[in-house]
Amino acid sequence: MKVTLESSDGQVFTVDKEVAELSVIIKEMLVIEQANQDHPIPLLNVGAVELAKVIEYCEHHRNDPTIDDDEDYDSRKKPIEMDDWDKQFTIVNKEMMFELILAANSMQVKPLLHLGCRYAADIVKRMSPTEIRDLFQIDDDFTPEEQDKIEWEKQWTKL
């Protein structure tokens, strides 16, 4: 069975139902609106470019065992497996990846969301505050006093 999805900028995508159902939100919508499937499902927060990429991800992972609840993810230490395809998939610029994380969040595509957040964490890991500021184009808005306080606290908290 096919399902049609509409991006925020009005593009329509037709995908297999089982692919679309990787999104918890769509899955729930399909249960509620069983009788009314002629209309495309509107995704107000997701642009066409991101939606295409999310669908690409879902197509590849359509046969993965489903993880029903967050518990499996919450067992913190459990690493999320990344296959070669996933690695290729994440080779995009960080702006695109951030858009994808937000899209995955609003559609509740859990595995993609976790993949994206790990990607974001990897960017930040091992970077100095200055490097982070440069990368994210953030201004250092601390006053010298605040800066001192943080440094001082850092020593005392053995952090």
């Binding site: 951030f98 957040c117 943080i150």
Partner: protein
């Protein structure tokens, strides 16, 4: 307004933080005010204070105390005791291993859900227990080396009435709860070496928890007052029971309990007789079974291969299988496919090769093990002539175990060399620990073990370079 980034969405931030360690977080709070506000709570979420973790600055803790959700106070001395009385309004989970616990300690933690105390005597027990009784959210009590004296025992059992988890380890209680008391909220009761109550009394205590789902009882031998539990009693007393963890129990007693249970999801039987009767009783539960640990069973001759084969071919939800060892030949006779390939994360099972040439049998065993794609921990320790990991007959087949994190082959004779060590590191990228002697020769081992570690470290470095 600027476009949102994942950092500015709180629930996403929580996910990102999961992959960061404390050092990363400390760098993040120094980026800018927004990042500071975002990441600071995660630094203070869980803290440790005590001998090895001092100095934790009181001023800093005071300032950030509302972020603290989890604390471990370990071995505080002198003026450090003061820290116990600090107000931590949002702490949910607290462990304390130190003496002279002041009463204010409890009053200043109003949202506490979980309280663990290890050898931690309160200064004024009566006032202390009165304060604990006032903790409205408390659901989980974990006591190790504690004494609950006569003058507070009644209050103690009153508190237990609203808990869902009670763990008492090497703890003394002045008396068992009153027979009329029903601990109806208790789902998990975990009792090891309880002092002050007889076996019969312990059994009575368990019986006072009608909604028990998890029963853990590690007592002195004999555990059960002989033949007191019949399947009908079990069924009537604990209709929701689904996890068992018992020690020194006889085959007959265990089988009676299993017969009376509606579902068995977890079964651990330490130093017990898990034999034909128990297995027959467990059989109808196999489709729901997730954990089976019978490693320390008294079965000296290893485990009947048919039991293990049956479990692997029937339990679709099995996550952990911990057996002793099986006769390889008998084990291979059962050719049914294993159904737990996607769920099994931990397998502990030795193989014994008797009256058969290991060269002929081993490849089949490796073949079957290679199908366990979800495996994170593999323990094949056991009989000295166990599985031989040497390439290419053994190890190479296990390349499919991509999630493997620990490998244990202690007590088996291996002749693992640098080549195998390298293979492990390149094929099992998540590997964290290897336990066992790598080769016959001790010297060689000393040379290889650090090598394995060194290789692992360089691997890590290379990773960080490519990031």
């Amino acid at each position: 307004m600027e476009k949102p980034t994942p950092i500015s969405v709180p629930e996403l931030c929580g996910l990102i933080v999961e992959s960061l360690d404390r050092k990363d977080l400390v760098r993040c709070v120094r980026v800018c005010k927004l990042w500071n506000a975002t990441f600071l709570p995660f630094i203070w979420r869980s803290i440790k204070a005590g001998e090895n973790d001092w100095p934790l600055d009181l001023w800093a803790l005071e300032k950030h105390r509302h972020h603290v959700q989890e604390v471990l106070f370990n071995d505080l001395h002198g003026s450090q005791i003061e820290i116990l009385s600090m107000e931590l309004p949002n702490v949910l989970c607290l462990e304390i291993i130190t003496n002279n616990v002041p009463t204010e300690f409890v009053e200043k933690k109003p949202r506490l859900i979980q309280l663990a105390m290890n050898d931690a005597s309160p200064m004024d027990p009566i006032a202390f227990w009165k304060a604990v009784a006032g903790l409205q959210h408390l659901r989980h009590l974990d006591f190790v080396f504690m004494e609950v004296q006569k003058d507070v025992i009644e209050r103690f059992w009153d508190i237990c009435e609203r808990l869902d988890t009670i763990r008492l380890y090497l703890t003394g209680v002045a008396a068992a709860p009153d027979k009329s008391k029903t601990l109806s909220q208790v789902k998990t009761l975990d009792i090891s070496m309880l002092r002050g109550v007889t076996s019969m009394g312990c059994l009575a205590l368990f019986s006072q928890c009608p909604n028990l789902t998890t029963m853990r009882w590690n007592g002195h031998s004999p555990l059960f007052p002989k033949a007191t539990l019949l399947s009908s009693t079990v069924e009537a007393t604990w209709p929701s029971l689904e996890a068992l963890d018992l020690s020194t129990i006889s085959d007959r007693d265990l089988s009676e309990i299993l017969k009376g249970m509606r579902t068995v999801k977890e079964l651990r039987a330490r130093n017990s007789d898990f034999r034909d009767l128990s297995f027959e009783a467990l059989r109808r539960h196999l489709p729901e079974l997730q954990i089976l640990c019978i490693k320390e069973s008294r079965e000296k001759n290893g485990f009947p291969a048919k039991v293990i084969s049956e479990v692997l071919a029937t339990c679709t939800k099995l996550r952990i299988l911990n057996g002793t060892f099986v006769d390889a030949e008998a084990f291979l006779k059962d050719e049914r496919p294993w159904v737990c390939n996607n769920s099994l994360t931990t397998l502990s099972l030795g193989f014994k090769f008797e009256g058969t040439c290991p060269r002929n049998t081993q490849p089949y065993i490796f073949e079957r093990l290679s199908e366990l794609f979800s495996l994170e921990s593999l323990d094949i320790s056991g009989p000295s002539h166990g599985l031989c990991l040497r390439l290419p007959r053994g190890l190479a087949r296990l390349a499919t175990l991509k999630r493997l994190r620990t490998l244990n082959f202690s007590e088996t004779m291996q002749r693992i060399d640098v080549r195998e060590a390298k293979w492990m590191l390149s094929h099992w990228t998540m590997l964290e620990s290897v336990v066992g002697r790598l080769s016959y020769y001790e010297d060689r081992d000393e040379e290889l073990l650090p090598r394995l570690r060194v290789l692992a470290e360089t691997d890590d470095l290379e990773d960080s370079d490519t990031d």
